[in-house]
Amino acid sequence: MGGSRVPDTFFTTPPEWTWWIIFYFFIGGIAGGSFFIASLLYLFGRPSDRPVVRLGYYVAFVGVVISGILLILDLHRPLRFWHMLIESNTGNLMFKSWTPMSIGSWGLLLFGLFAALAALSAAREEERVRWGPGFVVGRGFRTVVAIIGGILGFFLAGYTGVLLSVSNRPVWADSPMLGALFLISAASTAAATLILLGRRRDAVDAASLGKLAEFDKWALILELVAIVVFLVTLGAAVQVFLSVWGVLLVLGVIGAGILLPLAIGMGWVKRWSTKPATAAVLVLVGGFLLRVVTLLSSEQVHIAGHRVISP
């Protein structure tokens, strides 16, 4: 019982950020990732990629609306959600540039605005809606929305990991890698979502789906590297993963969520290699489990009396 070997982050209380937040991190990541993939395709792709661009914008818009609802539901006083944006006792704007949750609240709001504009523009282009100002289908407007919204998409996908790190909790505060890891995972899960939804739409070009699969493959490789760096930088806190959470990380996140879809993508798994949808589903499962593992492994650690209880 050498006390000095217990990391300092273990002497703290879990905030009980569990299922609402896990789903928010997963869906918010897909929303941000879909937008930046769509932006890249819009700015640098071909006209035949447009159906995927529109799909990406729709996914981003639906995702950001769900994200906002999940975040509000997680508050213990949901009707006070606006206290994050406006100081309730002075009416001034509430913004703290050194607090990820404060920056994130504004980031989510702004991203929601751009996702709505992009989705409206896409719906006008497809003539699904006929209302709204005409400029939303203008070229310049779309380029601006793609650039700013794309940057906000990257932000939304990554700030959640930074938010966890700016704390004193085990695992989260022990490695600087969570922001990068969540960002990369947002990219892989977003590409997988677009592949799955794109396959069902006639307008979507097979070549666009091929590019998404190629992008996803590289994102998975980056994700694997990021997970390894994450585990190495944890130091003594890595002991949290000597538990069921470590098993889930290795088998679920790395095995089923990264290596298997990579193998399918490379054509190494003969039985499944004709089914890119299988790979995409696995990527989504792995991305979800990544959030489950990073949140719940830390939530397990708490103090009772003077003792540290860890999994």
Binding site: I37, H83, N89, V162, S165
Partner: protein
């Protein structure tokens, strides 16, 4: 600002009577747990177990025993440390947590929306949710009593003066005298925790005299601010975004092979 006020808790004279715990609960009208049903912790003679949204003072029992007659009890009345640089204030996104004119740290319950960032941000695991108010709560150092010149309820109730209340400078002098006294009596393990304004988090306005390592009392040896990770974590994300952007440019941009395929199908190579 009025003079900085705080607590000096000398754990060596604590007898574990829990008068402070009870005084705190009753002055602050904090609700019972589980509707007042008796609860046994099963791990200690202490049944409160931890600080929470409804227990703002908690007397820890540290039972250091090798055998039934061989060992010692350490008692420590734990509370918010009223950090000079407070992690909870740093991360609160609503501005609910403020520093008062007494240099103490108070959560405004009417502003808090229950996001729980402060729970994860406190290096000591002090804050938790109060299920009745739906807000994060902790010791206020009896802000209401102090504003009218009264001493906090816990230190007032403490029968051995283990909890001493007063101006911080005064308390530091008293603590130093007591430390020297113990050391001269041969208690070499005696140490002050959080009394040094040059130390971690700028010192604690509620500091302690301990007779073992901080970890033994369930205290971190080097409490840190959450913001220490902001730059490194943000930089990691920016690098991640740059690499992903580059991968996206390579894999998602238009390709010559696509142009060929498209013109074979009779489409336009570039619209």
């Amino acid at each position: 600002m009025a003079e900085a006020m705080g607590f000096f808790t000398d754990t060596t004279v604590c007898i574990g009577c829990k008068a402070c715990e009870v005084a705190c609960k009753s002055w602050n009208q904090l609700p019972a747990r589980e509707g007042g049903q008796p609860e046994l912790s099963g791990i200690s003679y202490d049944n409160t177990v931890q600080l929470s949204g409804t227990t703002w003072r908690h007397v820890k029992f540290i039972e250091q025993f090798d055998g039934p007659y061989n060992g010692r009890w350490l008692m420590m009345s734990d509370v918010c440390k009223h950090c000079v640089q407070a992690g909870c204030i740093e991360v609160c996104p609503t501005g609910a947590i403020i520093r008062t004119e007494f240099d103490t740290v108070v959560i405004q319950s009417d502003v808090c929306n229950g996001c729980r960032a402060c729970i994860a941000g406190c290096p000591f695991g002090v804050i938790d949710m109060n299920p009745v108010s739906g807000t994060a709560q902790k010791c206020t150092l009896c802000y209401d009593r102090m504003s009218v010149g009264l001493e906090p309820a816990c230190s007032k109730a403490c029968p051995t003066d283990s909890i001493q209340f007063g101006p911080i400078d005064d308390l530091r002098r008293r603590a130093q005298t007591r430390l020297e006294q113990l050391q001269s009596q041969g208690e070499t393990r005696a140490q002050l925790y959080g009394a040094d304004p040059e130390g971690p988090v700028g010192g604690l306005n509620s500091f302690y005299l301990l007779v073992d390592e901080p970890e033994v009392y369930g205290l971190p040896s080097q409490p840190k601010l959450p913001s220490r990770n902001l730059a490194s974590s943000a930089a990691g994300s920016v690098v991640g975004a740059a690499v992903l952007g580059a991968v996206g440019l390579v894999t998602l941009r238009k390709r010559r092979s696509e142009d060929v395929a498209e013109s074979e199908r009779g489409g336009q190579p570039r619209a």
